[in-house]
């Protein structure tokens, strides 16, 4: 079996199944935990609690004004990186193709030049984030294997993707196999570390907003 056939075949299947199993495991493991019973009467009807939850997911994406001086750098770099990733994944032709293969849905792609720029910006943001983590005294103290591994497993697909689209350094087949394998590594790790925030951030904020609304607090 060729290297590429392995990456596109058995490796992809195994990675997909591990990711699905892992995501269901983590979500079930969190959602089925015991929750403290609220004995006070609800201050808002159920629908209001739901919309409160949804609102919190949105409002928490931007920090409160008083926190800005301290968190501006991290939040801005994080936003830039996530937006760049979004453009690459949902507006890049080959990725739309993969999503089409999975879901049957398709939409127009952005020109390659735009994706190249987004990739360069995302790459720079990732480097900046790593430098920040290594040089900020508090962050360095708090950082562990999970943080660095999660960073690496996002960095590798971006880097291999850039090399692949530039068709440079190695043959197309090799670069494509490396890119797919790096994404598979990300898929396997995703449910088990901080990368699980892809689902948990929405679940966490949503629950918090739901409870706040129940209490009649601002969301």
């Amino acid at each position: 079996m060729t290297f590429l056939a392995f990456a596109r075949g058995p490796a992809l299947q195994v990675a997909t199944l591990i990711m699905i199993a892992g995501i269901f495991w983590r979500l079930a493991g969190v959602l089925l935990l015991r929750r403290r019973v609220a004995h006070a009467a609800a201050r808002a009807p159920f629908l209001r609690r739901l919309t409160g939850g949804a609102k919190t997911i949105v409002t928490r994406t931007i920090p409160r004004k008083n926190f800005w001086p301290r968190v501006a750098t991290g939040v801005s770099l994080g936003w830039v990186m996530h937006l760049g990733l979004f453009v690459i994944l949902f507006a890049g032709a080959p990725h739309i193709l993969v999503l089409h293969q999975i879901t049957g849905l398709s939409w127009p792609n952005l020109p390659k030049g735009v994706i190249v720029m987004a990739s360069a910006i995302t790459f720079a943001a990732l480097i900046a984030l790593l430098v920040r983590r290594l040089t900020h005294p508090v962050l360095r103290l708090l950082s562990n294997v999970d943080d660095y591994l999660s960073w690496l497993l996002v960095f590798l697909p971006i880097t291999t993707g850039i090399l692949l689209s530039g068709e440079t350094i190695a043959g197309y087949g090799t670069l494509l196999a490396l890119h797919i394998l790096s994404v598979e590594a990300l898929m396997i790790w995703l449910p088990f570390g901080k990368l699980m925030h892809v689902a948990l951030v929405f679940a966490g904020r949503g629950m918090m907003g739901f409870n706040f609304a129940r209490k009649g607090a601002a969301t």
């Binding site: 199993a21 269901f24 493991g29 015991r34 993969v98 293969q101 999975i102 068709e167």
Partner: protein
């Protein structure tokens, strides 16, 4: 001068072809072989002095497509004459004799040209069950290959089947088919893959061999670099559309009609090394992409088992909804078990701490 002692130059002169025709042929061949144009006079000189080159062709587990493509390539007169000169001493589909007479021809040709003949193979070599799945005159291909490789100066593995196992090797490979290089070692081997291979590639290799007495430069898969050094993608005339992100989404949409890139329709051009994007087929008429169908990667190993001709390189083989469902169920079960265990721990009264 006897026919065997006659040089190619003398033979051509006899047929009314002067030195200019041979030089023109050499100019065309150096261009095809990606050699410096300055080598054309050297090639012409060497060809003029060349003696008959014996080629023994053995067909194994094949469809005869490789032989057909070489026969049907309508070459101009001088090419035909030159290839006439390359003495095809044995080829089962073409020769008049059969049975015992054919076997005698083979033995005589091998004996007369011991150490000097080129052994051309098309078709894969089945190994399972002692190679019983492909026999000639009751003799297995693998045993014939092992015997006749000994006296050959070099071996040409023609077509993807002979080079890498090809179609017979596709999953589940019931006959245990392999390529020539998996059976023979210690002999110069040239792989000329393709299903079928581009005819000019074989011509080029033969002319190079006759002109310079050795095989042309090969890549890491033993393919002539001159023809397999680039991918279809690198030479494709639709490349500007790939670079601009203009892809045909289906075989009859507006993009397809405009001749846009066929990447999304499964084209394997980026991972396929061959010369068909530049040399094309039927004397430069067309090639699959120009005719509107993506490249299927027929000159690469295991091209049948790459997950489908219409699945783009950006995709892969899916896990399947059933397996995904099982994985989800396993995950749910595991997560639920973990949550339940946490719940039971939290309901137990806290232990007194010392």
């Amino acid at each position: 001068m006897t026919q065997d002692a006659e040089t190619l130059g003398t033979m051509l002169a006899r047929r009314g072809f002067g030195r200019r025709s041979l030089l023109k042929f050499a100019i065309v061949m150096t261009s095809s072989l990606a050699l410096p144009p300055s080598l054309a006079p050297v090639m012409a000189d060497n060809l003029a002095k060349a003696k008959r080159q014996s080629v023994i062709w053995l067909s194994f587990q094949e469809c005869t497509g490789c032989l057909e493509t070489l026969l049907r390539s309508s070459a101009p007169t001088i090419d035909a004459l030159i290839f006439d000169f390359i003495s095809l001493d044995y080829q089962e589909a073409l020769m008049a004799s059969a049975g015992a007479a054919a076997e005698l021809t083979l033995r005589q040709a091998v004996a007369a040209n011991q150490g000097e003949y080129l052994l051309a193979i098309d078709g894969s070599v089945p190994l399972k069950d002692g190679g019983v799945y492909s026999l000639t005159g009751g003799r297995s291909n693998v045993s014939m290959l092992e015997e006749f490789a000994v006296g050959a100066k070099a071996i040409l593995a023609i077509g993807t089947c002979a080079a890498y196992g090809g179609i017979p090797k596709a999953h589940p490979n019931p006959t245990g088919a392999v390529g020539v290089e998996d059976v023979i070692s210690g002999k110069p081997i040239v792989n000329i893959p393709g299903c079928p291979p581009v005819p000019e590639v074989l011509s080029g290799v033969l002319v190079y061999f006759v002109s310079f007495g050795r095989l042309p430069d090969l890549d890491d898969r033993k393919r002539p670099l001159a023809y397999f050094g680039t991918t279809i993608h690198d030479q494709c005339y639709r490349r500007p559309f790939y670079d601009q992100g203009k892809f045909a989404k289906s075989f009859d949409d507006e993009g397809a009609r405009q001749g846009w890139c066929l990447f999304e329709l499964g084209c394997k051009g980026p991972t396929t090394h061959n010369a068909c994007a530049s040399l094309k087929w039927n004397n430069g008429t067309s090639f699959p992409i120009e005719s509107g169908h993506g490249c299927i990667g027929c000159s690469e190993p295991d091209f049948w088992d790459q997950g489908g001709f219409y699945t783009s390189l950006a995709g892969g083989s899916a896990a399947g909804w059933r397996n995904a469902g099982i994985a989800a169920a396993v995950g749910l079960a595991g997560g639920a078990a973990a949550a339940l265990s946490a719940r039971s721990k939290s309901s137990r009264p806290p232990e007194d701490k010392p």
